[in-house]
Amino acid sequence: MTALDTFKAAFEASLTPSPTVITIGLAIVIFLPILLHLLFSATTPYTTLPSVLLIGPSGAGKTALLTLFERGPLYTPDAPPSADKPSVPTPVAKTHTSQAPSTVELAISTDKKTTTNDTNAASYRTDLDAAGATAKKFLLVDTPGHPKLRRHALSHLASASPTIKPSSISATSSETHKSKLKALVFVADAAALADADSGALASTAEYLYEVLLALQRRFHGRGGSRAPASVPVLVAANKLDLFTALPAALVKSQLEAELGRIRKARSKGLLTTGEGDGDEVGAGAGGEEGDGWLGAYGTEKFSFKEMMEFDIEVEVIGGNVLGEGPGADKWWNWIGERV
């Protein structure tokens, strides 16, 4: 009886429009969503990191570059391995043909060489924890370069807001958080490009053409007034430590010439099934004039500058992963500026 009475009283009080009830109600309405948000954001392992995509033909050195950046700060040639920090025996892991994309998390210094004038200040080798510099983390995503597996890379570029689902090495643990694509590093083998008969130039340029065209389509296919975030492209001319390698400037001109040739051949080529003919089911949007044409429509010679029209900045920088040479610091700096 008494229990019922107290319950009744409490119920009545909760429905009376008294200031206490109103404040409590307001507090719940305001703070509950905030609490929920905090709870859920805490359970996701990371905040979304920006990501950089590594693409290029097979054998150009993508995976090697990835391991170089990852192992750079860990590799200490002289110091004995300490217990608290992992160390690696070599600066670059041996690599073979990749079959699956892989992701590593890297940190890059955001201080613009404030610490010292030493060139190493901006190197990937710097141990940022030790240096005490403010660091920005990002994900470096390596994709397989084998022609049958290129969809892994190209599928990222097709969508208007490119996102990347980082896949850890194990396929079972599927993390579903996505991260924003900030930049694209196209790794090319400068030594193979020099060999005219090997067909490396043609295949490399073909892949680069696909990539640039995908980026250009993305620019065209933007919905609404907001342009998609621009994705700058770095063509990393790798393997400059080899004697036969072309310097970066030559790599650039050769690739431009080859891209121009591909562009011309494509424009004269056959239609593709499912494109352009009206009775086919998959005709879709058809094609406006110059849809499949890379760069400014109608120009004779292709140059990377034309891509600026579509907000795609292309830069060619030479370097090498293995051996003696300019190294990979310039690429690292380039990534640092974009991230």
């Binding site: 995976t63 990852e70 192992r71 073979h96 990749s98 079959q99 067909g199 051949a265 056959l270 099934t273």
Partner: protein, 651 residues
């Protein structure tokens, strides 16, 4: 001996490797792209957990590779060795290393966003395994070696009764010492420890070591001694004994073996299979304990054996639990399964997939995919999916659809670029730096009767003419009446159509009854002389299972040396497409195969384009063009996306 052993993950990073001889990285690269990416070998594909013994060895150059694969973590274990050598223990090594590596570093491997695995210490484990297994085999080698030594000993031809054993041995020994061929080292049989060959080499008994090596190579299965026949239990103990004896330089005991071997010198391959491994599992602890200088190894050995035993036990337990789940448990899991089927997050098992895969197979068959291809595709997808977790709110069917789309795309996507115009340019106008001379680009077209060879040839010709090439059409069909005239009509039409655009086309014909290969060769020579850019050679249609007709294709390929051989296949044909594609692909002799397919009459089948899948599946040769109509312009580049969409559309 083993040349290299590598542990690679699917993203291409070598996690751990050990090499004993220089092996070009291209060996492993080719292995990966052939077996895993292009799935060239017949039983290829990512089979999870299969032991190295069941995976077929991959051969490249002079190397053989034995491998095993762990799907969950995406790790490949590869052993590289010379094909000439026969290493019976190599499967065991690969499997054992896999078990050890996964149990030691499994936690590290599951970490996301890193490629670094700290496994410097793994060297020791590997060395231990390698030595152990090699010892297993070298032990048997030793025995074979002793066999041979005694049986070939000059002057001791008649077999002696067992009573004379000891005498025989001493005489053996003395004769061995006396003979100039044998090593002066008395303890010859005691040399084989781990490195049997290396020890034997420096001595003057070069002949002996060579013989021993020969035994090792040819006589893979060690001729076993007679006393081991009755039961296998005796082996381990005896093996351990022998190990001790060698250090002590005691030949007296070994004579038993020698004598018994001696009694059956030739027919001794009684119980060879799987023996080295069996010996190891049991006796290695005693081995390690008693052998001089192997104390370090013993600790590791114990650890390794416990790891291996664990792995075995786990495997056994898994198979057991599968059968013995109770009634309540099964019904509970069934309810949970139903719920998860809707919500997602379910780990797929073979039973879950079975029904859905059947449906997918039916669907593919309805799309005119040959049964053989459909079954293999479904098996591949099933293998890929077993053990995979579905995503949130993803049903099994949706997951299968996704996996099938991925595997179809992967299969149909060509490995190399198929830009015909660029290839022609590269041949007819090579760049200044290249050493090649300009010559006409030769293309020939083959196929079964009535699939549209001539029609597609003229379509390609029209396409080339629009690009201002100078084309020569060679009438290689010297058999069917009207074939040459048919081409002549095409050429006349094409001339009229493209006169304005600047293309040039001519017909090269020698009438009927001539040898087609000779005509083709003459045509190519003529084109080179007259400065044509492209030669298109038509051939007579032939039934693919008629050996007499098909055999002439080999000669044709040799005479005309075509840059591209294209086969025309009908989209209408069903199951037979597999046999057609296979036979034509094999008809050009070794070293030459088809370069591409043209699928004609695609406009007549709607979305039942399964023939595409069947032929690509059978041959791994890409589809170049698709014929979609009756006009000269109705030729299309093949788009993988289009085909996959049509195949999976459910109308």
């Amino acid at each position: 001996m083993l040349d290299a052993f590598e542990i690679i993950n699917t993203s291409g990073v070598v996690l751990w490797s050990r090499s004993y001889a220089a092996v070009s990285p291209s060996v492993v690269n080719n292995f990966i792209s052939d077996v895993f990416i292009e799935e060239k070998s017949t039983v290829a594909g990512a089979k999870d957990g299969a032991s190295a013994a069941t995976n077929p060895p991959y051969k490249h150059d002079q190397h053989s590779l034995r491998w095993t694969f762990n799907k969950e973590l995406g790790i490949i274990f590869v052993a590289v060795y010379r094909s000439l050598l026969h290493l019976p223990w190599i499967d065991k090594l690969v499997d054992n290393i896999k078990a050890i590596f996964l149990s030691l570093y499994g936690d590290q491997l599951k970490k996301p966003n890193t490629t670094i695995i700290e496994c410097i210490k793994f060297d020791e484990y590997f060395e231990q395994q390698l030595q152990e297994l090699e010892q297993g085999s070298s032990k048997s080698d030793t025995r074979a070696y002793i066999d041979e030594a005694t049986s070939e000993d000059p002057g001791d031809d008649p077999p002696l009764p067992p009573a004379l054993v000891t005498n025989q041995t001493s005489r053996d020994k003395s004769s061995a010492e006396a003979s100039p061929v044998a090593t002066p080292n008395v303890s010859r049989p005691s040399t084989p420890s781990a490195s049997h060959l290396l020890v034997a080499k420096p001595g003057p008994g070069g002949k002996m070591s060579r013989r021993a090596r020969k035994i090792q190579n040819t006589n893979s299965a060690p001729p076993s001694s007679g006393d081991e026949g009755p039961g296998r239990k005796g082996k381990p103990a005896k093996a351990a004994k022998r190990g001790r004896k060698w250090d002590a330089d005691g030949l007296a005991d070994e004579t038993d073996d020698v004598q018994l071997d001696y009694s059956i010198p030739s027919g001794g391959e009684v119980d060879a299979g799987g023996r080295p491994g069996a010996v190891e599992e049991v006796d290695s602890s005693t081995w390690g304990a008693r052998t001089k200088g192997k104390f370090v190894l013993r600790d590791l050995g114990d650890e390794v054996h416990s790891i291996l035993a664990d792995a075995d036990a786990k495997k056994n337990a898994e198979t057991k639990t599968e059968g013995s789940s109770g009634l309540v448990g099964s019904s509970l899991s069934a309810i949970g399964g139903l719920f998860r089927n809707v919500v997602g997050g379910k780990t797929l098992t073979k039973q879950d997939l079975e029904k859905a895969m059947k449906g997918m197979e039916e669907h593919l068959l309805k799309k005119n995919v040959a049964r053989e291809a459909a079954v293999r595709l479904c098996e591949g997808v099933e293998k890929e999916l077993v053990g995979v977790k579905t995503g949130n709110f993803e049903s099994i069917n949706a997951r299968i659809q996704k996996a099938m789309e991925a595997s179809l795309t992967k299969m149909l996507t060509p490995t190399s670029s198929l830009d015909l115009l660029r290839e022609i340019d590269a041949i007819t106008a090579p760049s200044a730096t290249s050493l090649r001379k300009a010559r006409p680009y030769v293309m020939s077209i083959v196929g079964v009767n009535g699939v549209g060879k001539s029609t597609n040839l003229s379509k390609i010709c029209f396409f080339l003419l629009q690009n201002q090439y100078k084309v020569l059409i060679a009438a290689g069909d010297t058999f069917r009446s009207g074939a040459v005239e048919q081409l002549a009509v095409h050429v006349r039409n094409l001339k009229e159509l493209t006169a304005r655009e600047g293309g040039q086309v001519e017909l090269y014909q020698k009438g009927y009854g001539k040898d087609a290969a000779a005509v083709a060769k003459d045509a190519v020579a003529f084109a080179a002389q007259e400065g044509f850019d492209v030669v298109l050679i038509d051939t007579a249609g032939r039934r693919h299972n008629d050996q007499r007709l098909m055999s002439s294709l080999e000669k044709f390929a040799k005479f005309a040396q075509p840059d591209k051989i294209l086969m025309v296949g009908e989209a209408l044909v069903g199951t037979d497409s597999v046999a057609q594609a296979r036979n034509f692909n094999a008809a050009f002799g070794s070293g030459r195969s088809l370069d591409g397919f043209i699928i004609s009459k695609c406009d007549t089948v709607g979305d039942m384009v399964g023939t595409l899948v069947s032929i690509v599946h059978a041959t791994n040769v890409p589809v170049l063009f698709v014929g979609v109509g009756q006009h000269y312009s109705d030729l299309r580049n093949f788009s993988v996306k289009w085909a996959v969409e049509k195949l999976l559309s459910s109308t």
